[in-house]
């Protein structure tokens, strides 16, 4: 077990309003992220108040994007997010993860 090789990557998670989801995914792609996972219906509360997707236009609903990627890519995304997501309901954070197939991410 101890001999299993450990490969470190970063996980970036973005909670954002659904309206800009396509935009965020395009941004990730351009930055060189090769895959992502989306939890499409997520509620929340933050500076912009309650957002629980309870109304007809559904603009008050969030999505949660998860992407595993290389450290440099993740850091760049984190830094750029400040400017990029300024006007929208959104948060971004990074976290260390270990993966088994380094070629995958």
């Amino acid at each position: 077990m101890s001999d299993a090789p450990v490969h470190r990557r970063k996980k970036i998670e973005i909670v954002c309003e659904r309206a800009i989801l396509d935009d965020v995914l395009e941004w990730l792609r351009e930055a060189g992220v090769t895959g992502h996972t989306v939890i499409p219906h997520v509620a929340g509360h933050g500076r912009q108040g309650r957002r629980d997707g309870d109304e007809a236009s559904r603009i008050l609903e969030n999505a949660l994007v998860i992407a595993i990627t290389r450290e440099d890519v993740a850091r760049r995304l984190l830094r750029d997010s400040v400017e990029r997501l300024r006007d929208f309901a959104a948060i971004v954070y990074l976290c260390d993860v270990e993966v088994a197939r380094p070629d995958h991410f």
Binding site: G49, D54, S57, I59, F88
Partner: protein, 327 residues
């Protein structure tokens, strides 16, 4: 005539549809856990739009007149121009910021399908008919207001969408949003198949219309009241705007509708379209294109104030005036 208005309003307030709306609002007010699953609400909306579209198409089947085409073009222009009126009124009479005024304006230029549908049932219950192409007028009014809203915002110094994806998304929303596809598509299908084809689907798309509208209005009551409760306190000036702007819109609709030579029912419906405000398509577009505008404002005004006002008071009022205007 005032007696007339009162009796119309009374009858309207006591119809199963309006009472269902009130029940939903009450449930949300006492914070009942009554909740329509989102999928059901969307399914009902799809039904209502397809059904009303097809009904309109069947009514027009066979012929399309220059009357119809003229009315449709006029409706598009009205939707394009009403935001300017709303913008001016907001800037003059309230403290709304320019970007908020532009976004709110776009909502009032566009239309609310449920308000239209409620009005059409109100007329039907009184034996009044209307031109089939009113449905096409509604479809065409859905989105020109979005473009004007963006122009107003740009004039005030706010850029539109920044990324290519957002721009594409916005144009798809303007041209092909789901409501337009269903209304126009249903209209064309009704127009093509005519009465014989419609007979096959009438038990579903025709006979159940009122009942399903009840269910939908029950949900709308919940949604509108929740929006009102969750919203920050609105200034009296803003609430006033959300009550006066529909009257201005209705006046425009009554005038132009008469000038176009629409039937009494048609004039009342066109007034209702002009008076109503979008709460589905336009918010979605504004959120993308004008993120600096405050969604709590535009949603609360259109859904929390103007929508119930039109359903309870506006529709019978516009109908009574349209009746009185009959030459």
């Amino acid at each position: 005539m005032p007696a007339d208005i009162l009796s119309l309003a009374g009858a309207n307030l006591l119809s199963p549809m309006t009472l269902c709306f009130a029940l939903g609002a009450l449930a949300a007010f006492v914070r009942s856990d009554l909740e329509f699953p989102d999928a059901i609400a969307k399914g009902l909306a799809i039904y209502l739009m397809l059904a009303i579209g097809m009904k309109g198409g069947v009514a027009l089947a066979g012929g399309a007149s220059t009357d119809a085409i003229l009315a449709i073009v006029v409706a598009g222009f009205v939707s394009f121009l009403l935001p300017v009126v709303a913008y001016a009124l907001l800037r003059a009479a309230t403290r709304a910021a320019a970007v908020d005024a532009a976004a709110i304006g776009a909502h009032y230029g566009s239309v609310s399908v449920v308000t239209f549908v409620t009005a059409s049932e109100f007329l039907a219950a009184r034996g009044m008919t209307f031109e089939g192409y009113l449905v096409a007028m509604m479809a065409v009014m859905e989105t020109p207001a979005i473009v004007m809203g963006l122009l107003l915002a740009r004039r005030a110094g706010f850029a539109g969408p920044r990324s290519a994806a957002a721009t594409r998304h916005l144009w798809r929303e303007v041209l092909f949003n789901g409501s337009i596809v269903l209304l126009v598509g249903g209209f064309l299908i009704g127009w093509i198949v005519g009465a014989p084809g419609y007979a096959k689907v009438k038990p579903f798309l025709g006979d159940l219309f009122n009942g399903l509208l009840c269910l939908f209005l029950l949900d709308m009551g919940v949604v509108a009241m929740r929006q009102l409760r969750a919203a920050p306190a609105l200034s009296p000036a803003l609430v006033g705007f959300a009550l006066v702007q529909p009257l201005i819109g209705a006046a425009v609709g009554l005038g132009l509708g008469s000038a176009l030579g629409l039937s009494v029912g048609g004039v009342a419906l066109f007034a209702t379209l002009c008076a109503s405000a979008s709460y589905i398509a336009v918010p979605a577009a504004m959120r993308l294109a004008l993120p600096k505008a405050n969604p709590a404002l535009y949603l609360t005004l259109s859904l929390g104030v103007t929508f119930p006002f039109n359903v309870a008071i506006g529709i019978p009022l516009y109908t009574a005036i349209a009746t009185a205007l009959r030459p």
